[in-house]
């Protein structure tokens, strides 16, 4: 049984009773299948992070304006005076 409360809180979700039950069932199936991994020794393997063997894909330091501020602010659910707006957040 996975700790759904903890993970939903970390993922900023609030599951309904039925979702929670369904996720719990599905998570159990998945986690049980992960048991197979225990049998394999990976001590001699290094993690594969990207299948691409390329390195040093870098960009020259040249600034470029994408578009007007107005156009991007138009995506904001709430905006004020050139800022994106959310409820007061202190931390």
């Amino acid at each position: 049984m996975i700790d759904i409360n903890r993970y939903q809180s970390m993922a900023k979700l609030s599951l309904s009773e039925s979702e929670r039950a369904r996720i719990s069932d599905h998570a159990d199936i998945l986690v049980k299948s992960f048991d197979e991994l225990e049998k394999i020794n990976v001590d001699n393997a290094s993690p594969l992070i990207s299948v691409l063997n390329e390195s040093n894909i870098l960009r020259e330091d040249i600034p470029r304006k994408f578009t007007t501020r107005e156009e991007l602010l138009s995506y904001a659910p709430e905006q004020s005076d050139g800022y994106f707006q959310v409820p007061k957040t202190i931390d």
Binding site: R59, P63, Y83
Partner: protein, 476 residues
């Protein structure tokens, strides 16, 4: 002193690149809110990150000036948490393969020299900025700063006093600004410092409970916060007035106290994992040597050059090499007018005081060095007198005038005609006969007054030495 204060520092420094770390938006400070943003740094889907080459070079430079080991292959990782200034819900940072390790910085305090050792330096992307609007009970977000490249310099817990911390920050600022890594301006947020602090009884083998203090926006605030927090911890241990817990505390400058920040649940499980969008970066020796060769001359080397080669006093050299901007002005001006003591004098005495009146410090003052040099030459060769020179300096600074042309057009050339000066001296002695009497009675100060009056009548342009000698002649 029963207790010892132990501190480690995490210093965040904004790199002086032109564009952001993972997108091409400008990273310059001071733009209108949300002027320098694009879909990528706003967290919108569809625009993959591509790493800024210059940011890596500045990371290498930071490693070189802090005697660090540069990691051969670096990569980026993702740190997951939700906060409105973080548009993607994760910060790109380096956990597994930071760019530098095991460096050190030498500091000097009243107690002498000390080596502060560094654990590591890593590159990460900055977040946006939140401003709180109390009227509407909302927070306003400006994403100009989101994805600006930062390095985080993590020290070992080597600090034992606020003085050491301040010396370290000043030294870091000098090292990094001279290397063109960052302008390190705390007031603009390009250098920020968090302090991890604990106290322990002298001779103890285990560190005490440590807290992290944040939100200090100046060196003064840092020193005050350290002293307050150290005392708070000592009081807690001595009187058991409160229990010390490992936590993050916020410095409140107006109240002069630290306050506990609200505890966050699961605050520390950031679920770090490797960033699969960004390919690793291999830093070969060749690249490191290129960066090293292009490093501007370090402050200390400039100091030695100014004192040993150019014969400046240590005092003057310290001032000039205290700021990269000032130091560059000195060197550039010397290219056109190569009398070091004169140049130093003009910078330290005249330029800085005029700039101060304009609310500009040694880091901000901007001047055309060729014109500055010309000005010095005009005074040095007695074409104009020094006072006229000072006035012109103001005009060069504010209006960028051409000094030579200006002198010609406004007939500011120094009057060295002895007969003319003599005539005016005699006029002054007649007009201010009372003062002459006072002088003859022994009041030496009046001499200066008479010089001043003579100079005034000559439109401020006369050769002061001549006025002096002629006045003396008539008064004796």
């Amino acid at each position: 002193m029963k207790y010892e204060v132990v501190m480690g520092l995490e210093v965040h420094v904004e790199l002086s690149t032109n564009s952001k770390l993972f997108c091409a938006c400008s990273s310059k400070f001071g733009a209108e809110p949300n002027e320098n943003v694009c879909p990528a740094c706003l967290g919108m889907p569809g625009m993959p990150a591509v790493t800024n080459k210059r940011a890596i070079e500045l990371g290498i430079a930071a490693g070189l000036v802090t005697n660090s080991e540069i990691t051969k292959t670096i990569s980026f990782d993702k740190k997951n948490y939700f906060y409105p200034d973080l548009p993607t819900g994760y910060q790109v940072t380096q956990l597994f393969a930071p760019i530098c390790k095991n460096g050190w910085v030498e500091i000097e305090t009243e107690k002498g020299k000390k080596k502060i050792t560094l654990s590591q330096i890593h590159i990460e992307a900055d977040a946006g900025k939140l401003v709180h609007d109390n009227r509407t009970d909302t927070s306003l977000i400006d994403y100009n700063r989101a994805s600006v490249p930062l390095i985080e310099i993590v020290s070992n817990p080597d600090f034992r006093s606020a003085e050491e911390v301040v010396a370290y920050l000043e030294k870091l600022r000098q090292l990094l600004s001279f290397a063109n890594v960052s302008d390190c301006k705390m007031q603009e947020g390009s250098m920020r410092c968090d302090v991890n602090i604990s106290v322990m009884e002298k001779g103890a083998t285990e560190y005490g409970v440590r807290t992290e203090i944040k939100n200090m926006n100046s060196l003064k605030a840092i020193a005050a916060a350290i002293n307050y927090e150290a005392q708070r911890q000592i009081d807690a241990l001595e009187t058991a007035s409160e229990e010390l817990v490992q936590e993050t505390r916020r410095w409140d400058d107006s109240k002069g106290q630290t306050f506990s920040m609200r505890q966050k649940e699961d605050a520390t499980d950031y679920r770090y994992f490797p960033n699969t969008e960004l390919m690793p970066i291999s830093i070969e020796d060749k690249w490191i040597e290129e960066v090293r060769a292009n490093l501007p001359e370090a402050a200390h080397d400039r100091f030695l050059r100014l004192t040993e080669k150019l014969g400046l006093s240590e005092y003057d050299s310290n001032i000039i090499t205290g700021s990269k901007n000032l130091s560059d002005i000195f060197d550039k001006t010397m290219e056109y007018f190569s009398k070091p003591k004169e140049v130093a004098n003009w910078i330290i005495v005249e330029l800085l005081s005029i700039a101060k009146g304009d609310n500009k410090g040694e880091d901000d003052v901007k001047i055309d060095c060729k014109k500055f040099a010309k000005l010095m030459e005009l005074v040095d060769s007695k074409v104009i007198n020094r006072n006229v020179g000072k006035d012109l300096l103001s005009l060069v600074l504010t209006e960028d005038i051409d000094p030579e042309k200006y002198v010609e057009e406004n007939k500011l050339g120094m009057i060295s005609d002895t007969d003319m000066i003599d005539k005016v001296v005699q006029e002054v002695l007649v007009e201010f006969s009372k003062s002459v009497e006072e002088y003859k009675e022994g009041n030496q100060k009046v001499f200066g007054f008479l010089v001043g009056q003579t100079m005034r009548k000559l439109g401020g342009k006369a050769n002061p030495q001549l006025i002096n000698s002629l006045l003396k002649k008539h008064l004796s």
